[in-house]
Symmetry: C2
Amino acid sequence: MASSLLLNRLIKALEIQPGVGVRSATRIAFYLLDRRREDAKALASILSLAMEHIGQCPLCRDYSDDNQICPICASEKRRQSGLLCIVETPLQVQAIEESESFFGQYFILHGHLSPIDGIGPQEIGLDALETRLKSGEIKEVILATNPTVEGDATASYIGSIAKHLGLSVSKIAQGVPIGGDLDNIDSHTLMASLKNRKPL
Amino acid sequence: MASSLLLNRLIKALEIQPGVGVRSATRIAFYLLDRRREDAKALASILSLAMEHIGQCPLCRDYSDDNQICPICASEKRRQSGLLCIVETPLQVQAIEESESFFGQYFILHGHLSPIDGIGPQEIGLDALETRLKSGEIKEVILATNPTVEGDATASYIGSIAKHLGLSVSKIAQGVPIGGDLDNIDSHTLMASLKNRKPL
């Protein structure tokens, strides 16, 4: 316990960040007080602004300021591609964009189907997705949910809706990661990579 | 890059925290947006309050709200002990308090002498310390600066001032840490522990 009440409250508040326990929070609080007071005030103001004003793009559900349409959805070139990639989180959009290998549009579920937790089709925005799929602009749906039981189940569910609407549906490949050492790859991944082998 | 400008600014601002790089900052920003918006707003408000209102106790220079005298300096019992422990940082006060082995008062240098960086006696508050040592309330000065070249030099400097004023001066023991394995202790520490050996 520090002798300043505000300092104790600050340490407690910093602990809401993932990966920050009481030790790190204490170190961060002292560091900011000691050397970065102005930067810390700027952080406080942008943090409050961000929490207040960051909403979702009405088309892809990615984060966007004041619910504006995001630059990806606004791009005419991407719209003309007719490709829609379904992902679970905004971070996955960033990861795919960084790979510079996809130039279509996205739809973000913000989770996956999980009936046991009360997360059904509505909670992951499937009614909005269906409206979008029916718009006539989308030709192919690419399923890029997480390679987990829940992710795969969610992908199957969405795949069946898209097929029902007459769209082509594909799923990103599952197999051994590039540069990986076969010794260190788990047996489920090896099994998938053998099952999905491609003729040369 | 996320598609929200506010989000990019938030990620950049979160990186001022020690130990938080761009990857962690991104993870923290998405996590707060996704699940902890109210807590993040509370963090923003306490962060701004703390940076504005946390000052220093006028006696020991520990952090205190609005420059009030801190509870340790306000304690009559601690004042009567006549002991003054000199440390480099407020975190060291916390560490010593947690050890529950010292019941005197503190003086915090907020650094150590480092002429090459322009940090002289005035920058670490030695004029305030001298006034305090002359007050007649202090009987023994305990030097607990870091066991580094700069910390030791600073301790010697303060020690000579205190001796000149006729006070007793001591320095915390340097040696092998309790529970440590001798195999893993650096040679400087071993050298110090041999030099400072105590007859049984």
